[in-house]
């Protein structure tokens, strides 16, 4: 299936080669489609650089119970997804589901968190899942290294994490084995809907030209805002900067991931606890790094002994309400947009549920709540 059918035409072109695009391309190829994955070069703004590798359920979906259910489904399918990837590629993405914690530094914060979890579960059509609000002593049995300021926290047994760098590598190896035509340095300039298919004009510099496909999936992160309107869709996403700190590798001591601090399978500790509105600026801000390091030490004082080996800033992709957008174009059927903040957590859904639907030709009513039309409510006079 490495060659496109019908004189240079693919069944599907996936625009974007990050975690969302790769998971979709993998699922599409597995569903028997011929796929081209069009990726930018190394200077692309890549949200995948900033992800924290959590496969996380607790707390998500307050304001959209469908998103809570979608998240839980991906978490439930992640173990099987990791197994499929391992069987195919021989690479282990180190998925573990030991349950995750959100420790809190004040009684006020803990109460607010407990209330939010309750409101989340009181939503109509919410698929419930287990979680616990723990006091300090209960929490300390599971996380023995918490600092004296930690008053308690919430716990959800569904939460887990993986090695997200290896996930991207594994997906790329997997799509290669499935015959996906991966095209790096293929920035899409224009998408045209013509003769029931799509033509993607590629930026110059040798790689230039045109890619044709029967369907197109825009999974281009920040560039979705530019690309989606070309086919009658909308992806009003904005960048939100986050800083990440990684320490040297140490023997395992943190046996559960927490929202902002986790120990990777190889031993380094990742810290990521900043949310900044800074446009497309990815300059490292030492003030922000030191603030999140200081806060991390309040949660786990022994982190203060570790050396930091890397620190950087990256850009999340956020929709106005923070929930994903999945939609097929009304005016250009066969054009889809898929964009979300949680490309790791939702990777199993993208690969195993969303991609087969796109391959079969449509998303169905179940995805109506994820349409970007929710942002187009006419303003009340």
């Amino acid at each position: 299936m490495t060659q496109p059918r019908r004189g240079g035409e693919y069944d599907v072109a996936v625009i974007g080669g990050g975690l969302v695009g790769s998971a979709l391309a993998w699922g599409l190829a597995r569903s028997g489609q011929t796929v081209a994955m069009l990726d930018e070069g190394d200077i692309a703004v890549r949200p995948s650089r900033g992800n924290f590798a959590l496969v996380w359920v607790q707390g998500k979906g307050l304001g959209m119970s469908d998103y809570a259910g979608w998240t839980k489904k991906s978490s439930d399918d992640w173990g099987g997804f990791a197994d499929l990837l391992y069987q195919q590629t021989g690479l282990d993405v180190a998925y573990r589901r030991p349950g995750g914690f959100m420790p809190m530094l004040s009684e006020e914060d803990l109460q607010a968190r407990a209330n939010a979890m309750m409101r989340l579960h009181n939503q109509p059509d919410m698929i419930p899942y287990p979680y616990e609000v723990m006091d300090r002593e209960t929490l300390r049995k599971e996380l023995p290294f918490i600092g004296p300021e930690v008053v308690g926290g919430t716990y959800c047994p569904l939460d887990g994490h993986c090695n997200s760098l290896r996930l991207l590598r594994t997906l790329h190896k997997g799509i290669g084995m499935l015959g996906v035509d991966y095209r790096p340095n293929h920035r899409v300039e224009r998408i045209e809907h013509r003769d029931g298919g799509f033509r993607m004009a590629i930026a110059g510099n040798g790689a230039g030209g045109e890619i044709r496909a029967g369907k197109v999936v825009i999974a281009a992160g920040h560039d979705g805002a530019r690309l989606a309107p070309m086919v009658g869709l909308s992806a009003p996403v904005r960048p939100q900067r986050g800083h990440v700190i990684v320490t040297e590798k140490t023997a395992p001591f943190l046996h559960h991931p927490t929202v902002y601090i986790r120990q990777t399978d190889e031993g380094g500790v990742m810290i990521g606890d900043s949310f900044e509105e800074a446009g497309f600026d990815t300059t490292l801000q030492p003030g922000v790094s030191s603030a999140i390091a200081e806060r991390a030490i309040r949660f786990f004082p022994l982190l203060g002994k570790l050396n930091v080996v890397r620190s950087w800033a990256a850009l999340r992709v956020l929709t106005p309400d923070g929930f994903p957008i999945y939609e097929e174009s009304k005016t250009a059927p066969g054009a889809f947009v898929a964009t979300c903040h949680s490309g790791v957590t939702l990777a199993a859904n993208h690969a195993l549920t969303l991609a087969p639907l796109i391959a079969a030709g449509g998303l169905g009513d179940r995805f109506t709540p994820f349409s970007a039309r929710r942002f187009h409510v006419p303003q009340a006079a």
Partner: protein, 104 residues
């Protein structure tokens, strides 16, 4: 095996400047001004740690702070760069097996 250059051996009186320290608890001698990494090599310790992921042996390589291969535990603190620390009298240098322990 590493040896000191003969010119340096004759130019300096090694015995007068000997610094006593320990490697994994064993008494060892270095010269004043030696880095810990140089002192390890001079004492025949070419592998000072095993890597945290694959467990492969590593030893001092670049001797100028770049490669991070000479990591050792010095006076109880893990993952110190041996080439960036001068050996001092009574210093306890320990080789590292795998990952550093977070509490040391």
């Amino acid at each position: 095996m590493f040896r000191r250059l003969p010119e340096i051996e004759t130019a300096l009186n090694a015995a007068a400047e000997a610094v006593a320290f320990t490697i994994d608890g064993r008494p060892a001698k270095a010269r004043a001004g030696d880095s810990v990494a140089a002192a390890l090599l001079a004492n025949g310790v070419t592998a000072c740690r095993n890597t945290p992921v694959s467990g492969a042996a590593r030893g001092p390589y670049c001797m100028m702070g770049i490669c991070f291969d000479c990591l050792v535990t010095i006076d109880g603190t893990g993952n110190r760069q041996g080439c960036q620390v001068r050996v001092s009298p009574g210093m306890a240098v320990e080789t590292q097996n795998g990952k550093r322990e977070v509490e040391r």
